[in-house]
């Protein structure tokens, strides 16, 4: 299987380790991974700000960049949802691009659900001695049905124990530009999330979307909480030694 990795702009900029972990996991699953250079961002900031023309321009470039691969996989439910659910919607009035957008949408996957649902991965060969809790990022959960797949793979991580938090499916208050446009509201939401995480007594919190993780890590650090924040792919790939937790000193 020829798989193109869509790195996503946040992983590219903030946390390349997540991208490397994704490559590692995909290769373990038997995929040949390539990283097309013509990719940048999925265009959500423009799309969700009402700049449809800007979003379309970026989307067309992405459709070109990912042509010809069997699958396109992103370590983010939000960005995979943009390709998989929203690109076709952008071109409903453009019959020249619509079939290509739909075709890309059908090949696009969020990383962990791809590993489990397409590659049939049942276990991973990783070790991490931690009690962790898992936040279900909104787009992955509600647009793509990512819920059991990460839990199933985490269950196979040696030494790891999952403690579910209450409100795991409630939004953390990131929401792209929302969190800087309405910081007070976002603060309330991420503070509630912080309380739910802390109440589990877990040593670490994981999720599949870097946007949420930056938000959650930022809040936990503001309150000097000693709870590790990591992308689920780092743990599944056994790469927790490769980089300090999100927001922790190097």
């Amino acid at each position: 299987m020829r798989v193109a990795l869509f790195v996503t702009c946040l992983v590219d900029f903030f946390r390349p380790t997540v991208g490397l972990a994704a490559v590692h996991l995909l290769e373990k699953a038997g995929c040949t991974v390539e990283v097309p250079r013509a990719q940048t961002c999925c265009g959500q900031p423009a799309y969700n700000s009402g700049d449809r023309a800007g979003a379309k321009g970026i989307a067309v470039q992405m459709i070109d960049a990912f042509e010809g691969y069997d699958y396109v996989v992103a370590p983010s439910g939000s960005c995979a949802g943009m390709l998989g659910r929203h690109y076709p919607e952008l071109f409903t009035d453009n019959p020249a691009v619509l079939p290509r957008a739909e075709e890309l949408a059908a090949r696009s996957w969020e990383l962990v659900s791809f590993l489990v649902d397409v590659c049939g991965m049942q276990t991973v060969a990783a070790r991490w001695q931690r009690e962790v809790t898992y936040h279900d990022a909104c787009s992955g959960l509600r647009e793509l049905g990512v819920k059991d797949q990460p839990r199933r793979l985490l269950a196979s991580v040696d030494g790891l124990r999952l403690r579910e938090m209450s409100g795991a499916e409630v939004c953390c208050g990131f929401g792209g530009t929302f969190c800087v446009k309405y910081p007070d509201i976002s603060d309330k939401m991420v503070s509630d999330k912080e309380a739910d995480i802390a109440a589990t007594g877990a040593e670490a919190v994981l999720a599949g979307d870097l946007g949420c993780l930056l938000n959650i890590a930022g809040k936990l650090h503001r309150h000097n909480r000693r709870i590790e924040v990591r992308h689920v792919a780092e743990v599944l790939a056994g790469m927790t030694e490769e980089a300090p937790p999100i927001g922790a000193p190097q």
Partner: protein
């Protein structure tokens, strides 16, 4: 009611800083959603019903002209009247004219939301007519001169203590020694005050949850029975409602009723479901002498055929706001007008204009929970995005935001430049933040750092690492 949606940000801050509201919202958040979840779990066909509910509403909207005419004909045939109101002005005028024709002094009201939309109470009071709200929550906020903060629980922003204080301030006959500590005691007190007013009212005004075209009936649901007393005791019953409440048949209404209470309060059915068809007929033992339906458009018909048509499916169940984390943070008053939560964020801009209401569809993370629970599957996030598109094309967003966005789009469409810039910025910021791993403050990022730290980048962009790795592999 003058909208304050323009100052949404300040309204929201006030809500966040209000400890009583926060307590009330926390209670709501644990109440309604859990009860809905249980009710849905008890009905295996709930998901299938949502699909049917959606198609009933879609069908009606596609043939709205036909069903409206059918409805009017049936109302006339049953001895009632229909008053078409294009605007809030016309709706108020119609109600006022009916009230005057019977020389009404007291008007009881059974929580019609459309009356809020057209500012009916103010109009009646200016004309010497006393409106009395009979829904407990609505009655409380009428005493407090507040707008409703929720579709079905208008006083949800208050706790028992505020309600007791409100009654003590207003009910002069109330013995100061009497306890009002329990919800039951508050209900009894309101009931004692409202009973004589039900009997004294000349006109009763209700809304409608559904209008039935095949019979010309209006249907209301309540849990307090106040709607029945409002519409059957006075001589005149006015239904003030809007076009999109229409459904073709009683059977259709019954299907939607199965969705409504479960989605709203988690009940199988509301305590009272009342169908009214025309005035009292010869031989009837009770009922009003006159039955009027004031049908408001207020721009709704302009939504037909456009990208917001699906919003007209809304059955006002409140599930979207009950499950909305933004609503749960700021409360309904922050939205600044009659409708709040996700449904308000879509509906309000179409009723008061996107220029005044632009914050509402922006104040959403698009978490999707509203669409997920909506009984008629309205794609609320998508419609909020459509409003953002209108806002953007009308250049209503702040200029700095627009400039930043278009610069970013410009760069994102040039991959080589993009990768170079990201590589540089990642290195620079990574080096700067390496020691602490995060930033407390950062120029241009205050919207982020005002409430949380910004984790520092690792220091190399993925693409630069990947290029390096590839080079290494070819050298090997």
């Amino acid at each position: 009611m003058l909208p304050t949606s323009r100052t949404f940000e300040a309204n929201a801050r006030a809500g966040l800083a209000n400890p009583i509201l926060q307590r009330a919202l926390a209670l709501m958040q644990s109440g309604f959603p859990e009860r809905r979840r249980l009710a849905v779990g008890r009905l295996p066909e709930f998901e299938a019903l949502r699909e049917i509910g959606k198609s009933i509403k879609n069908h009606t909207l596609e043939h709205l002209d036909f069903y409206l005419e059918l409805f009017e004909g049936k109302v006339l045939a049953s001895g009632g009247q229909v008053h078409w109101a294009r605007t809030p002005d016309e709706a108020r005028a119609a109600v006022l004219q009916i009230c005057r024709s019977v020389d009404a002094k007291i008007v009881t009201k059974g929580k019609p939301m459309i009356a809020e939309e057209v500012g009916l109470n103010e109009c009646l009071e200016e004309n010497g007519i006393t409106p009395v709200e009979t829904d407990l929550g609505e009655y409380i906020i009428q005493l407090r001169h507040e707008p409703p903060s929720h579709l079905i629980a208008p006083a949800i922003h208050l706790m028992k203590e505020q309600v007791a204080a409100t009654f003590r301030a207003d009910h002069r006959a109330l013995d100061p020694e009497r306890s009002l500590a329990e919800a039951r005691q508050l209900c009894d007190e309101a009931r004692a005050v409202l009973r004589p007013r039900f009997l004294a009212a000349d006109v009763g005004i209700t809304g409608a949850n559904f209008l039935v075209a095949e019979t010309g009936s209006s249907i209301i649901v309540t849990n307090e029975g106040n709607g029945d007393l409002t519409q059957t005791l006075p001589r005149v019953h006015i239904v003030i409602t809007s076009l999109e409440k229409l459904v073709p048949t009683l059977e259709d209404a019954a299907t939607l009723l199965r969705l409504l209470a479960r989605s709203a309060t988690g009940q199988e059915f509301s305590s009272y479901t009342t169908v009214s068809t025309g005035p009292r007929r010869p031989g009837d033992r009770d009922g009003p002498e006159q039955y009027h339906v004031v049908l408001l458009d207020n721009g709704r018909s302009t939504l037909l055929g456009g990208e917001f048509q699906e919003m007209l499916r809304c059955i006002r169940c409140s599930a979207c706001m009950n499950h909305c984390p933004v609503y749960a943070a700021v409360g309904g008053h922050a939205y600044g007008w009659v409708y709040s939560g996700p449904m308000g964020a879509v509906l309000t801009p179409s009723l008061i204009g996107i220029a005044d209401a632009r914050h509402l569809p922006n104040a959403s993370t698009f978490c999707g929970q509203c669409e997920n629970v909506c009984p008629v599957k309205i794609p609320l996030p998508k419609m909020m995005r459509h409003w953002r598109e209108r806002e953007f094309s009308q250049k209503l967003n702040p200029p700095m935001y627009r400039a930043g966005l278009s610069l970013w789009v410009w760069v994102a469409k040039r991959p080589a430049l993009y990768h170079a810039l990201v590589g540089l910025a990642s290195r620079a910021l990574g080096r700067l933040g390496r020691g602490r791993g995060r930033f407390r403050t950062l120029p241009l990022a205050s919207g982020w750092t005002v409430v949380r730290d910004l984790p520092a980048p690792e220091g190399r962009s993925f693409h630069s690492l990947w290029v390096q790795r590839r080079k290494g592999e070819t050298r090997k």
